[in-house]
């Protein structure tokens, strides 16, 4: 984890109340700091305020109380468009964020909004489409793409805009396992190439497991945060918060009760398999 790097997202005492919600606060005095280049996963059950938080960051929801500073720029009426240039956001429904009539048109949409010159636009669009591995589909209409492909196009649209922060608002939750894998792979690869700050709002525990840090939200507040290994070790407590524990963790807990020696850190499925088959190996 990058410890002394600059803070790219600073949120202090954020409160948000939806109209007609009977004074129930969707965000209740939320304070979060995220470093540049960090990958943070925000997990929490439905209604925990995670999507509200994501939408507050780029001013899609009005700031009611508290302060948000993105890359040194405080969020306000005058700065909201500048901030939206710094944040790329992928939403849940692959169909409902596809604006263009073809793949290339959709990738170009954000650039058109910024009034970028056509020559620059063309190179950036071609490059972005190549990065997500959709070059063969440049002229395709969205109706002829799978959900995973549409989400990759959405990612390309963001890459073309070259923002500093990528927010995934449950971007993989409507995809089949294959599509989810494709999209996550693309994000991993992007993260490596660009060192963007990634903020993923997710239900998917495997997606959260790839993060540097996990923040658990409940009732609009940060309940806990830590590395994936630290968080997944909570087991029962996670389930009490309505969250699922990754399968290797459940297995680990079950084996521990049977007095099988187990390591304390988080193991992915593969590493768990490796651990198990070498458990009694003396080599």
């Amino acid at each position: 984890m990058l410890m002394n790097s600059k803070k790219i997202i600073q949120v202090e005492h954020l409160k948000y109340e939806y109209p007609q919600s009977n004074q129930h606060l969707a965000l209740n005095d939320l304070s979060v700091e995220i470093n540049a280049g960090e990958w943070v996963a925000i997990i929490g059950h439905n209604g925990s305020g995670k999507s509200t938080f994501a939408k507050s960051l780029n001013g899609l929801l009005d700031l009611q109380n508290g302060s948000i500073v993105i890359d040194g720029l405080p969020l306000a009426m005058e700065t909201v468009w500048e901030i939206r240039k710094k944040i790329g956001m992928v939403f849940q429904n692959p169909d409902n964020q596809f604006v263009g009539a073809t793949v290339e048109d959709d990738v170009a949409f954000g650039l058109e909004n910024q009034g970028i010159e056509r020559a620059i636009m063309q190179t950036r669009v071609t490059d972005a489409i190549e990065r997500v591995g959709m070059t063969d589909y440049t002229k395709r209409e969205p109706s002829r793409l799978s959900g995973g492909q549409k989400q990759r196009v959405a990612l390309a649209g963001i890459i073309a805009q070259q923002p500093e922060i990528l927010i995934l608002d449950e971007a993989t939750s409507m995809l089949d396992p294959e599509g989810r894998r494709e999209v996550l792979e693309t994000i991993h690869q992007l993260k490596q190439e660009t060192n963007m700050t990634v903020l993923s709002i997710t239900h998917d525990i495997d997606e959260a497991a790839s993060a540097d840090r996990i923040i658990i939200l409940d009732d609009g507040q940060v309940v806990d945060q830590g590395t994936p290994a630290e968080i997944f070790a909570y087991g029962q407590r996670l389930m009490a918060l309505g969250l699922d524990v990754p399968y290797p963790e459940k297995l680990k807990a079950a084996l521990t009760t049977l007095a099988v020696p187990m390591p304390s850190e988080y193991l992915t499925t593969e590493r768990m398999v490796d651990y198990l088959w070498t458990l009694h190996s003396k080599m």
Binding site: G100, L111, I116, Q122, V125
Partner: protein, 254 residues
């Protein structure tokens, strides 16, 4: 219809303007030689497009009853010239027959020409052409960019909403709704449980789309650049010249 003829590659603006103009000047023709010229002109365009004649004939079929009705009306109710046959208020005259034949030709030519336009031009290009042609209206504060974006989004969502309709219909069938059965009233009633969910989900989609567009920095049409551009080529100017020549020929032959 994908293809690679000269017509496919023409600027959609040229095609749009030329097609509408052509439909206008068809009404200049009032003699057989004029119709012969128009017929040859249209048929050569069909040949150039390399699209099978079947597609054009299919275009005529849905309008067959309208054409028949109009032609018969012309034949039986136009008076003048030699009377061939008479029965009560129905008369069959020379002018009647002639007018009927002209109307029939007009219909066929107009349908062929508009089919040619839609078969050689993708809907999105047509939307671009409309945007470009409407640009002068910006002077009277007509929201040209917004209308064009609405048009292209509407086109983009047609297949999505069709999928959705199929899904809803299947869901309703699974609950025992019978489509296409019973009287007219019953059939109309069966459509309600399709329309309402479709309406609700369209609004949800629109809401999501607006949020996504805003997140990507959409602030209205002003200050936007264009990714797709239209190119006016020599071919397009030539098409305009051809239209002018055709007009002169029709005026001479009328």
């Amino acid at each position: 219809m994908p293809g690679d003829s000269i017509l496919h590659r023409m600027d959609p603006r040229a095609k749009l303007v030329a097609s509408f103009y052509y439909i206008g000047i068809i009404f200049l023709a009032r003699s057989w030689p004029a119709y012969a010229v128009l017929f040859v002109f249209t048929m050569s365009l069909v040949l150039i497009s390399k699209i099978k004649l079947d597609f054009f004939i299919k275009g005529v079929r849905p309008l067959l009853w309208l054409i028949l009705f109009t032609v018969l009306l012309q034949i039986f109710f136009t008076r003048g010239g030699h009377i061939y046959w008479q029965w009560g208020f129905l008369t069959l005259t020379r002018y009647g027959l002639l007018n009927g034949a002209y109307i029939f030709m007009r219909f066929v030519l107009i349908i062929f020409m508009s089919t040619l336009l839609t078969l050689t031009t993708p809907p999105l290009s047509l939307a671009d052409a409309i945007e470009s042609l409407l640009k002068p209206l910006k002077a009277i504060r007509f929201p040209v960019y917004e209308v064009a974006l609405m048009l292209s989004i509407a086109l983009r969502f047609v297949p999505t909403l069709m999928d959705e309709t199929t899904k809803i219909m299947n869901a309703q069938r699974a609950r025992g709704v019978d489509f296409g059965e019973g009287g007219l009233f019953k059939q109309m009633k069966a459509i309600v449980p399709i329309l309402i969910p479709l309406f609700v989900s369209s609004f949800n989609r629109a809401d999501d789309l607006a949020t996504a567009m805003e997140a990507r920095g959409y602030q209205g049409g002003e200050g936007r650049s264009k990714y797709r551009i239209l190119k006016w080529q020599t071919m397009d100017s030539l098409a305009m010249v051809a239209m002018a020549i055709l007009t002169v020929i029709l005026i001479v032959l009328r």
